[in-house]
Amino acid sequence: MSRAIAGVGASLAIALALTACGSSPGAAPSAPAPTATATATPLPTPAIEVPIAAATPPPARLPVPPVRVVAASIDVDMPVVPVGVEAGGFMELPVDPAIGGWYRFGADPAASDGNVVISAHVDAPQYPIGPLSRLRDLPAGEIVEVTDAAGEVRRYQVQSVTYYPKADLPVDELFARSGTRNLVLITCGGQFDSRTGRYADNVVAIATPTM
């Protein structure tokens, strides 16, 4: 079966070589005669190209974490630190509302794909009310600047500010790792339940890269 395919392949090669010669007579006098390859026992070649690589871990791209976020129009200028996931599966946050947390399992600002998610407490016991308490007043069209650990500043333009009841927060969309490159700023708002120590809503600002 494959011998037949290989044979067809070889004759096809000859036919192509002949066609090439025929279409430009005398144009390639130095071209080797095709008979040499045709008489050798041909080894088959794969019908499809399959990627092959050494079974070693691919070099992981090191993220460049954001270190500062500035939204001048609402007087926000806060340091940002990497955070992960806290017990219960919620996004981890710095205790101090004046410090933003960057979700380190998602995209960093230099990544080619995925949303950059930065969140901070709106308030916390023993601390002053945080800068993101003014997130709800961030007008669409304003610029938010994110500085990364390499000192690069990226600009994002605010598209929307939305209140979501916490249970309805579209986490898959906001924390998307592909198909989007937005800056997502999250804090809390709405009614506070002093029994649970939690706000009813999340306030979410979405901003798109300006370049």
Binding site: M1, S2, R3, I5, A6, T41, P42, P44, T45, P46, A47, I48, E49, V50, P51, I52, A53, A54, A55, T56, P57, A60, V85, G88, G89, F90, M91, L93, P97, Y103, F105, S119, A120, H121, V122, D123, A124, P125, P128, I129, L132, S133, K166, L169, V171, F175, R177, S178, G179, I186, T187, C188, G189, Q191, F192, S194, G197, R198, Y199, N202
Partner: protein, 274 residues
């Protein structure tokens, strides 16, 4: 080298074609297949259903992932100078691939050192936010082993061709492989990077007797989940301040209303006196 460059280009093209879909996710009705070569010192050609599919496949190399229609495939391994699969060195074996599943077929030595093929199903179900998954497969001509992380056994008595899977917080673990019930490493210790949302599969292959035990690693990305939510306010001061300001406005309004009413009354009374 050239092959790897080509492979990289091919992978790039595949990635470019499947924007928005993880490269390793099975499309509808298809299965995903990777092939690992874990037989020492024996380059082979791989024939699938009689057609040459992998040319000059080297030990320690991983081919794929290939998106294939579900069904049965006949796989044969031949010497690299074979012109067809009529005289296989291993097989033919039949691999039955189910739609939506992700497989790795491993050519390896069994416990007693004879070549064999084991098809494994890779657990590509979503990982919890902040976690990665580690699967360990024993594909070496060696007795049962324990897998140790930081000196303690996390997988016990794993025999060829068994596998074990752990879901772990993302991070780097110092892993080693030791004969079952012992702690003296036959492989490692080596750092194993458990990446968030990534299935890392570690294969022990080769032969203990021939002193060529090796570790192969395959990664499958895109299993991540988003966090359940964001609890970004625990003090309640903002709500209190809002409430306070609202009530000040309300009180302010009442004061104004009262003032208006009072002055109206004064006007009415002064008119009445006239």
């Amino acid at each position: 080298m050239r092959k790897k460059v080509l492979a990289g280009i091919a992978a790039g093209i595949v990635a470019a074609l499947s924007v928005g879909i993880p490269a390793t996710a099975a499309t509808n009705g298809n299965a995903v297949l990777s092939v690992l070569h874990g037989i020492p010192d024996t380059p082979v050609d791989v024939y699938v259903n009689g057609a040459l599919t992998l040319d000059d496949f080297q030990p320690g190399d991983l081919a794929g992932p290939l998106d294939l229609p579900a069904g049965a495939y006949e796989v044969a391994l031949t010497a690299t100078d074979a012109t067809d699969d009529s005289a296989p060195v291993l097989g033919p074996v039949t691999l039955t691939l189910e739609a939506g599943k992700n497989y790795t077929a491993v050519a390896h030595l069994n416990a007693s050192g004879s070549p064999t093929v084991t098809p494994y199903v890779n657990d590509t179900s979503p990982t919890a936010a902040g976690e990665g998954r580690l699967t360990v497969r024993h594909d070496a001509a060696a007795p049962a082993v324990d897998v140790l992380a930081g000196g303690t056994a996390v997988i016990s008595d794993l025999a060829n061709p068994e596998e074990a899977t752990l879901n772990l917080p993302a991070g780097t673990i110092q892993a080693s492989v030791a004969a079952a019930g012992t702690t003296d490493p036959v492989i490692g210790p080596a750092p194993v990077d458990v990446q968030e949302g990534v299935l890392t599969i570690a294969y022990a292959w080769g032969s203990l007797e021939d002193d060529n035990l090796e570790l192969a690693v395959q990664t499958i990305t895109g299993l991540h989940s988003a966090p359940d939510g964001v609890n970004s306010g625990t003090g309640g001061q903002l709500a209190q301040r809002d409430l306070f300001l609202q009530s000040m406005w309300a009180i302010g309004g009442l004061v104004v209303a009262a003032a208006v009413a009072a002055s109206a009354l004064v006007v009415v009374r002064s008119r009445a006196r006239r």
